[in-house]
């Protein structure tokens, strides 16, 4: 099993969710986030003052998938989130040792 963490443009979230559902991945957690990579933000001018918007709005998507679905999930996220511009986001993978369903103590990929 792998945990996939994806940092996305908020505007692409619906498309990514749909793509993951189509790929057979139903469970996910969405977090509101702010940050920047190489995109770095920009400067705005408001009421005579200049200020820098350096932490841009992002969403973080987390999902844990069985090994056989990892590539499918990555592909779904990448294709749906890509606009070709700076700031499209990142995908991180982490190996997961165990998953436990709290309701019935089920373990392993079937608990996902």
């Amino acid at each position: 099993m792998f945990k996939i963490e994806a940092i996305l443009q908020p505007s692409r979230l619906d498309a990514v969710k749909d793509a993951l559902l189509e790929a057979g991945i139903e469970g996910m957690t969405i977090l509101e986030a702010r940050g920047h990579g190489r995109q770095k933000g920009h400067t705005e001018f408001y009421r005579g003052r200049e200020y820098t918007v350096d932490l841009l709005p992002k969403v973080k998507l987390e999902t844990v998938v069985p090994d056989e679905l990892v590539e499918k999930a990555i592909s779904a996220i990448s294709n749906a989130a890509r606009t070709g511009k700076i700031g499209d986001g990142k995908i991180f993978l982490t190996r997961i040792d165990e998953a436990i369903r709290i309701r019935n103590d089920e373990r392993g990929p079937t608990a996902l």
Binding site: F45, R47, G48, V53
Partner: protein, 915 residues
């Protein structure tokens, strides 16, 4: 000590099981909750009498058995505890009866019931402690003698208990109120939960009990004895059916409505445990679906939709909660300093009304309430101070409504009252009260459709009416922002020129949801049109509200796109083409999202709204010059303008409009001009442009509610904008907003909105003509602006208008050479002062620059001016920019020091170019 007798426990158990099954079957058949409760209570009464007789045998004991709490009210719900009081005549009797009581309790358990016994002596009850054991003290209010020592029971009922309760009365009332407030707070002080608790939640059965308890205590206090009839007992004797109650209940909040609410809630609370097989009070979604499918608590059998069923639930819960809240509010405070209490008791009348204010409560004197003006003034007071009407006042208000309905207030009178209510800091509370009493729907029947309307999705926490009130509450809450991210939005609030229209928009924005057509914004506009007609709104007021309702979801939609993409900003700006509209739409979106759910507006989302606001505000200021209207490129818009100008511009019909002249007038105008002007304004400007051949300077004057507007049409020339600003200043007018547009033919349309601090024009209607003639003479160069300024010199005029506003150093102009392909933008943010605009325009003209577009705004004490500048028809080069910056800084520095600048000081010499 007595020894207990023997009991036929298996038979008792079977009897209880059979009784429970029978009650369940009867409920499934009839859906009659109160009947189910009565039936179960009667069965358990019988069982307890049997058990007590069984354990007592042939003996007698000075012990009386009372049913307490819900059991005492004969409202024993399925799976509920059976509260029993074993009242002993003395301590010795208690000791002697100990084994009997233990055996009886054991037998109740063995029979299959959950016993909750209490053993007290008469002396214990005489020392009733409302503060220490409120629950027990209150449960005694519902005591009902079951069996045992009847003489003891009668003495307890008639003497001991009333005396003990009367002694503890103030404590009981205050503690009961405090416990209710604490319970309500646990549920967020709202009845509107997606999965409400029908027992403990606000407006639930516990609140219904609370109303009865409070009324019992009041009647006890008034009569010093038990009331002859217990309050709200209509259902106890089984004589009343739901239709009978509904027929009798004509007024919201009347006892009839309360009992109808009880019938519904009791049915719901019977349904839940029967459904789940345990003591369950939560109406989760699945339960709502099933309850609706079985029409639980409804008059008609068959199947109802879950939304309709929940709407019925909320209406009943609102009735109960309202009555409970009034009683809780009226309960004596347990604490408080004597002086404060005395101040709270002070009675003062509300001028011109029969209402009297005592503390935070509004009562009615003995005169009749027949005057809509007086009634609405009462609500204006509520909106201003957050007071509450007492029960009697509310009843008399509802009683007066049929008479008021015959002659409903309309027009400006109604709007002025509604306006004052909407603008009050407690507007949401006043509107909720008006809604609960039926007054709001009487005045605005368009609101009826969203009364308790449920939106069943994962996001909406509240019914549509409550959501509406919350949006208004959210706007007023910005006066005292609680979070840093709210503080930013609060800065916009004082800058909204027509806050009343924003609040009215919020009141109407979701009324169309009742029609369920999928486009509630369109439906809400249609309903709002009727309101406009009744309130006699002018075209601009209609346009403002209509536009806001139409676009109230657009900012939320834009947030789902990339808000830093210029395309997103540009598309969104189409829905808010002026800074005022943008600010209103931003606050509307803020309030609307926040009122969906307590957690709907996260700091993250609020930040995104703010970023989109800033990006759009900047876009609006920087894009005017780029986007111009070309008649050949957009014939559809031209046709629309032609039609609307014909209708609104004072022409007989479209044929009467000189088509070619209109094309010439509109060609090259900034799109912003078309987006921010009403058809009748464009029509008027066009008419003025036609008259230019006869008179080269055309002026028009329009008074508005909060300001006046003068519009100038003429051919452009250097210093024109500065002269107009100077002439207005010379008349003592305070320019709060201005814009300047020009078409391809070089005809300029300059509009100046100004306040009249000395009320010269308001108090002297004859001055209008002289004012316009004076402006015309100044613009045509027949009189010098400096001469006018000197003639009107006032000690205050030379000083900054806002000496309290501090800015570090002299404000600097901000140049932007990127946003426009034709012009250089200058944004100047500086403390506002009477001659500022004149000084800036003079500095610009003095450098030989032309103002292509000007967007002048004031936000509180700040002037925020944007000029699109060209030099010899092109953008400014760095050296020209440097010179202009110096001139502007000099002008700002002089203004800051209270010295008015003359053109010569800024380098204007006979129109020569000093750059």
């Amino acid at each position: 000590m007595w020894k207990p007798g023997t009991l036929p426990l298996p038979a008792l158990r079977e009897r209880i099981a059979a009784s429970a099954a029978g009650a369940r079957a009867a409920f499934a058949r009839t859906g009659d909750g109160p009947a189910c409760l009565r039936r179960r209570s009667a069965e358990v009464d019988q069982l307890l009498r049997t058990i007590w007789a069984g354990v007592l045998g042939e003996r007698e004991a000075p012990v009386a058995l009372f049913a307490l709490g819900g059991f005492g009210r004969a409202e024993l719900f399925p799976f509920s505890d059976v509260d029993v009081l074993f009242l002993c005549g003395s301590e010795a009797a208690e000791r002697d009866a100990h084994e009997l009581i233990r055996s009886a309790t054991q037998a109740i358990w063995d029979a299959g019931l959950r016993a909750s016994p209490a053993t007290r002596t008469v002396r214990d009850c005489e020392r009733l402690d409302g503060r220490g054991n409120l629950e027990f003290a209150i449960s005694l209010l519902d005591r009902r003698f079951l069996t045992g020592d009847a003489a003891l029971g009668t003495r307890f009922e008639a003497e001991v208990l009333p005396a003990a309760l009367l002694r503890e009365l103030p404590v009981l009332e205050s503690q009961l109120a405090a416990a209710a407030m604490s319970r309500h707070a646990k549920f967020g002080d709202t009845i509107f939960h997606l999965e409400p608790n029908v027992k403990e939640g606000p407006g639930g059965l516990r609140d219904h009990n609370l109303v009865q308890w409070m009324q019992t205590l009041r009647l006890l206090a008034a009569g010093r004895a038990w009331p002859s009839q217990r309050p709200a007992l209509l259902l106890r004797n089984g004589a009343d059916t739901l239709p009978a109650l509904a027929a009798r209940a004509t007024l919201t909040g009347s006892p009839g409505y309360l009992d109808a609410a009880f019938v519904f809630l009791a049915a719901a609370r019977c349904f839940l445990p029967f459904r789940s097989g345990r003591d369950d009070n939560t109406l989760d979604w699945a339960a709502q679906d099933e309850a609706a499918a079985q029409s639980i608590g409804l008059e008609t059998l068959g199947s109802a939709g879950p939304a309709y069923w929940m709407r019925t639930f909320y209406r009943h819960a609102r009735t109960v909660y309202r009555r409970a809240s009034i009683l809780v509010d009226a309960a004596p405070a347990d604490r408080g300093k004597p002086l404060l209490r005395a101040l709270r008791r002070k009675r003062t009348g509300i001028a011109g009304t029969p209402f009297v204010v005592e503390g935070n409560r509004i009562t009615l004197d003995h005169s009749a309430l027949t005057d809509a003006d007086a009634l609405l003034r009462g609500f204006v007071y509520v909106a201003q101070y957050g007071s509450r009407f007492d029960e009697e006042a509310e009843s008399r208000i509802t009683e007066s409504l049929p008479a008021l309905a015959v002659q409903l207030p309309e027009g400006p009178f109604l709007w002025n009252c509604l306006r004052d209510i909407l603008l009050g800091p407690h507007a949401a509370h006043a509107l909720r009260t008006m809604h609960a009493l039926g007054l709001l729907e009487l005045l605005l029947p368009e609101f009826h459709g969203i009364d308790s309307l449920v939106v069943r999705d994962a996001y909406h926490r509240y019914t549509v009416d409550e959501h509406t009130f919350l949006t208004i509450e959210n706007i007023h809450a910005l006066r005292t922002p609680r979070h840093e991210w709210e503080r930013r939005f609060s800065t916009l609030l004082p800058e909204i020129e027509r806050r009343d229209l924003l609040l009215l928009t919020l009141l109407l924005h979701d009324t169309g949801k009742a029609r369920r057509t999928g486009d509630h914004a369109r439906e809400s506009i249609e309903l709002a049109e009727r309101v406009f007609t009744r309130l006699e709104f002018d075209l601009e007021e209609r346009d403002t509200v209509r536009r806001l309702i139409r676009n109230h979801l657009e900012m939320s939609h834009a947030l789902r796109r990339d808000i830093f993409d210029p395309g997103t900003v540009r598309a969104f700006s189409e829905h808010a083409p002026s800074q005022q509209q943008l600010k209103m739409l931003t606050l509307l979106t803020f309030a609307d999202i926040k009122a969906v759910h307590p957690d709907a507006l996260t700091p993250w989302k609020a930040e995104n709204i703010w970023q989109l606001y800033i990006a759009t505000a900047n876009y609006l200021d920087r894009s005017v010059d780029e986007s111009r209207f070309h008649v050949d490129a957009d014939p559809v818009v031209l046709a629309r303008i032609l039609a609307s100008v014909a209708v609104h511009g004072g022409f007989r019909d479209a044929k009467d409009v000189q088509h070619e002249q209109l094309r010439a007038f509109l060609e090259g105008m900034p799109q912003r001009y078309l987006q921010t002007r009403l058809p009748d304004q464009i029509g008027e400007h066009f008419r003025l442009s036609l008259a230019l051949a006869l008179e080269p300077t055309q002026l028009s004057f329009r008074p508005y509610r909060q300001y006046n507007e003068v519009t100038l049409l003429t051919r452009d020339r250097p210093m024109l904008f500065a002269d107009m600003a100077g002439a207005l200043s010379a008349w003592g007018m305070n320019i709060v907003k201005a814009d300047a547009f020009s078409n391809a033919a070089g005809i300029i349309v300059d509009s100046f909105q100004f306040t009249d601090p000395f009320r010269t024009l308001e108090l002297n209607p004859g001055e209008h003509e002289r004012f316009l003639a004076s402006l015309r003479r100044a613009l045509e160069g027949k009189v010098g602006i400096e001469q006018m300024l000197r003639a009107r010199q006032h000690p205050r005029l030379g000083r900054p208008a806002h000496p309290g506003l501090r800015m570090e150093g002299v404000p600097q102009p901000h140049f932007d050479g990127e946003s426009s392909s034709h012009s250089t933008l200058i944004q100047i943010v500086a403390p506002d002062s009477p001659g500022l605009l004149r000084a800036l325009a003079t500095a610009i003209a003095g450098c030989g620059c032309s103002i292509e577009v000007a967007l002048i705004d004031t936000e509180g004490e700040l002037a925020i001016d944007v000029f699109y500048i060209t030099f010899e028809g092109r953008k400014l080069r760095p050296r020209e920019q440097g010179c202009l910056a110096e001139a502007i800084v000099a002008a700002l520095g002089q203004e800051r020091n209270g010295v008015s600048l003359k053109p010569a000081q800024l380098g204007v010499v006979d129109g020569a170019n000093p750059v």
